[in-house]
């Protein structure tokens, strides 16, 4: 197994991948918008 594979296996189970972090942050932002914390996002 390559170094990368070993590193993957040694990761703590609670450590989130970049993918999962992106989902968490996006869902959190969606909830804040739903709760009315951010009413308008300009573009």
């Amino acid at each position: 197994m390559g170094a990368e594979g070993k590193a993957e296996n040694n990761q703590s189970p609670w450590k989130l991948s970049l993918d999962s972090w992106a989902v968490v942050v996006a869902l959190l932002a969606a909830l804040l918008i739903r709760a009315g914390v951010f009413k308008h996002i300009p573009w």
Partner: protein, 361 residues
């Protein structure tokens, strides 16, 4: 004393420090993206005021071109690099938020069509790239990496496969360089060809999602054509991304059967580990939007937030593309990738035109 000398201590980077390190680069992404947005508004207005004939250049292209100009002239200074690398994070967060603009019915309808096309594209591309790799006598694992990179989802697929089949670092950097260089070319050629052929937004979006390898480039190539094409390109590309686990698993089993990679134990766990989680986030937001969890204004706010996330992504695409580095990687893998990509682009274009005639979308 000897122990102190022979066992080097690797200091873990504190999360707070890691967070601080990315700030300059994220600010740079934001500055370039925002400059692109300002250029879109002001250059067009200036040209109109002076009665010049000037094409309307979208912020997407300005952001990429500004990034490319910096990367290929002064380069990206070290202090910005960690932050610039976060463009993948913004891309994935942007895709999740984009889910608010899709109703579940649309996803099922378009996703169904795109799933069939994606399956045909993946099988055809893997077979053709494998044939080309053999023809050009590339190393078998390098061929596998190039095949996966062009058939499924660019750099992420190459990295996932590299770990699973125990490929060399050199092979993976060759493949990544080839896929990135070709992705940069596709970014500029796809919209030109699409306009030349007068493709509809739907046909073009499908084509960009099927034919462009990297998710960031596919998103940008779609957005360069139109907003509707960009949305569809993301949906189709996400369908391709969802296939990554199955393709990597198949290759891992193949190389393990040849005794050149470790056998895969728990296949379900392997599939879950490789599955792109942002696809699930995208579907979840879409389900919530479909069942009116968000009102109209909130959907608008989510869509705008998604645009900001993509703005940072497009700046990052330009900044991480360095033509000098790509030239160093050698010609043969690039030639195989280029021939393969042109063939895949033609093949997927024919698929899309055929599907448009059959399904009439």
């Amino acid at each position: 004393m000897a122990d102190v000398v022979t066992v080097p201590q690797v200091r873990p980077v504190q999360p707070a420090l890691r967070f601080l390190r990315v700030i300059p680069g994220v600010l740079l992404l934001g500055a370039i993206g925002y400059a692109g947005k300002l250029l879109e508004q002001n250059v067009g207005a200036y040209a109109k005021a002076h009665h010049w004939t000037f094409p309307n250049i979208e912020y997407v292209l300005w952001a990429i071109v500004l990034g490319l100009a910096i990367s290929n002239t002064v380069g990206v200074p070290e202090i910005f690099r960690s932050g610039v690398a976060t463009y993948e994070f913004w891309l994935k967060a942007g895709i999740v938020l984009l889910g608010a603009r899709f109703l579940l019915g649309d996803i099922l309808k378009l996703g169904g069509v795109s799933l069939v096309l994606v399956a045909i594209e993946i099988v055809g591309s893997l077979a053709f790239m494998t044939f080309l790799g053999r023809l050009f006598k590339l190393k078998p694992k390098l061929t596998t990496l190039l095949a996966v990179g062009s058939a499924v989802c660019g750099v992420s697929a190459i990295i996932a496969t590299k770990g699973a089949i125990e490929a060399d670092d050199e092979d993976s950097s060759f493949s990544i360089a080839a896929i990135l260089a070709l992705g940069a070319l596709a970014l500029f050629t796809f919209p030109v060809i699409g306009h030349f052929l007068h493709l509809s937004d739907r046909a073009y979006g499908l084509w960009a999602g099927l034919g462009v390898d990297n998710t960031a480039e596919a998103t940008a190539a779609g957005a360069l054509y139109s907003d509707a094409a960009g949305k569809l390109a993301v949906l189709v590309k996400s369908t391709r991304n969802a296939m990554i686990g199955f393709v990597v698993l198949a290759y891992a089993i193949y190389w393990a059967s040849k005794g050149q990679a470790q056998a895969v134990g728990n296949k379900a766990a392997f599939l879950w580990q490789k599955f792109p989680k942002f696809v699930l986030g995208f579907l979840l937001i879409s389900v919530l939007a479909t069942y009116h969890f968000f009102n109209k204004d909130q959907v608008g706010a989510l869509a705008n937030l998604s645009r900001w996330a993509f703005l940072l992504t497009f700046a990052g695409v330009g900044l991480r593309t360095n033509f000098r580095d790509m030239r160093k990687q050698g010609l043969r893998p690039f030639a195989v990738g280029a021939i393969g990509e042109v063939a895949i682009a033609v093949f997927t274009l024919a698929l899309v035109i055929g599907a448009e005639k059959i399904f009439g979308f």
